[in-house]
Amino acid sequence: MAYLSVKEVSKSFGGLTAVGGVSFEVEKGQVVSIIGPNGAGKTTIFNLLTGVYEIDSGTVTFDGKPIHNKPVQDIVGAGIARTFQNIRLFPKMRVLENVLVGMDRKMGYGLLSSVFRTPKFKKAEQEFTQRAIEILGSIGLGDEIHNYAENLPYGAKRKLEIARAMATGAKILLLDEPAAGMNPQESVELMDFISSLKNQGYTLILIEHDMSVVMKISDKIYVIDHGVKIAEGKPAEIANNEAVIRAYLGGSAKDVKSQ
């Protein structure tokens, strides 16, 4: 069985079907992209995977265990973390603190330890702060750890969201339009970073509009339109798939190839 397996998942809001029987599979260590026009239901799929919405029917299994309709906290605990399309950092907290919040579950000391400043508290704080600094360094935010999240430029905010998701100890990262609003150079850096995450053993699911990013780093692509899957395959297959070109790009195959 695949690492993450989504079977016939459906979700409707007040009679309007947002996701209708979508299935896909993600193997360990893969980079999988979900693409499709605006409003196709991509972010809804992320919301279903992470437990923000309950699914109406279908199953989601991760590492052999069903995770659908579990509380969001349990899904994070199982090893799935995400970023948000419309950046949702903790703006008035420091960059470092944002990452430390992601590690909260694992810090393993309690209320009394904090109040009485026990050795356990000190050790955990020291250890996890170091780890947070390492994560931030690896994503290129090493110089910004003391800054406040709201002061960061746009691209850095997106990076911080990824760092925060990594900090939860996730095995799968769901990145919702990570390249949105980035300039071409930042996009290239981001791609390199995503490749390095893959090398570190992370499994990634991407929602992305930037085709140059999607085509280069994806192992597999799923195309969603009007809440249903219309195609799947390797980047080269998707680029030549007539259904995709008609539904999603609304143009000829040449437009895609030229990207």
């Binding site: 470092l96 110089d143 003391h146």
Partner: protein, 342 residues
């Protein structure tokens, strides 16, 4: 570009922190011997009481962004519980304190569990009703609370055979000790993962839950701790006044506590002291202010929200984040220069 006076000030304060804390301690500990009138000393004790109340509400409002309009209720529970226990069963003040604060915390738990699963506005609606209900209970549960007549001649705390009162400055030192403990508790709590998670919830509850935080449980925790501290303040307040009734714990008290938190600066500890000092002292300054003080409290809430939501002492520190295990010193700007939010 603005000169970074804030960074200069903060690093100065940080460099001389031992000296400053030493001076503060010296002033606080010797204050009764400065020949201040009893009226002034009493006002200072009131500032301490309301600083404690504000520290309590701040845990909830300043950190998790939940607004309570019923803290007068927890204040009353602390005061009545200990006063009744001391009067009827002759228990020691400290036992009364434990009981009063615990009961206030318990009420917080019972109220918080159904309410805090939901969005923030519900807590405000429920607590507004709660404050009135507690007053109603005080008025009608006559066998215990003595009804509308109130409790009179509440015994003063005794330690080692000595009764604490205003004249021997026992109340003052007891207040100092309690405020110190509460402030230290808050400081330690908030500079830990608990405080971080509170703030994360306050800033973006959905994102916080997606980081794996048990947001409902944490909000309930904040509410219970907040009620507990408010209960402690109530326990101290009852013997200080000597007399309490249902009119001691009106909606006005809840609003006053909220105003102190907002004026001082939500999410800061220092602000609670300044806010309390300002709002306790200023009605004493003139007859006119006394009559209009409630209007002024309301006005302050509106003006602060509009022009300075961070409160008077709420600023983002320019010092680097204190990383545990590193030597404490200030080197250069912690915060990079190009992004100044002020």
């Amino acid at each position: 570009m603005k000169k970074d006076w804030l960074f200069l000030m903060e690093s100065m304060l940080f460099k001389h922190r031992l000296l400053i804390w030493g001076l503060v301690a010296a002033v606080v500990l010797t204050l009764p011997f400065w020949g201040l009138s009893l009226f002034v000393m009493r006002t200072i004790i009131m500032i301490g009481v309301f600083a404690m109340l504000a520290l309590g509400l701040n845990l909830l409002t300043g950190y998790t962004s939940q607004v309570s309009l019923g803290h007068a209720g927890f204040f009353a529970i602390g005061a009545y519980t200990s006063a009744v226990l001391m009067m009827r069963f002759d228990v020691h003040f400290l036992v009364g304190m434990l009981a009063g604060a615990a009961l206030a915390g318990l009420f917080g738990l019972v109220l918080g569990i159904p309410t805090l699963r939901l969005s923030g506005s519900y807590l405000t609606i429920v607590t507004m009703g709660f404050g009135e209900i507690i007053r109603l209970i005080i008025m009608t549960w006559t066998p215990v609370t003595n009804g509308t007549l109130g409790l009179m001649s509440i015994p003063r705390p005794r330690f080692f055979g000595t009764e604490l009162n205003l004249n021997n400055h026992g109340f003052y030192y007891l207040m100092v000790a309690l405020v110190f403990l509460v402030a230290l508790f808050c400081h330690h709590l908030l500079n830990s993962k608990v405080g971080r998670s509170f703030r994360a919830i306050g800033e973006d509850e959905v994102a916080a839950s997606m980081m794996g935080l048990q947001t409902t449980e944490l909000k309930v925790l904040a509410f219970v701790l907040s009620a507990f501290i408010t209960g402690v303040a109530g326990v101290f307040y009852a013997p200080l006044m000597g007399f309490i009734d249902h009119n001691t714990f009106t909606f006005d008290v809840s609003i006053l506590i909220l105003s102190i938190v907002i004026v001082g600066g939500m999410g800061t500890l220092r602000g609670m002291f300044l806010g309390s000092a300002i709002l306790i002292v200023f009605p004493e300054m003139s007859r006119f202010l006394m009559d209009w003080r409630f209007v002024v409290y309301g006005l302050l809430l509106i003006l602060m929200m509009r022009f300075r939501p961070n409160g008077l002492l709420g600023w983002q520190s320019r010092l680097p984040y204190p990383i545990r295990g590193k030597k404490k010193e200030v080197k250069g700007h912690g915060i990079s220069k190009r992004q100044r939010s002020f």
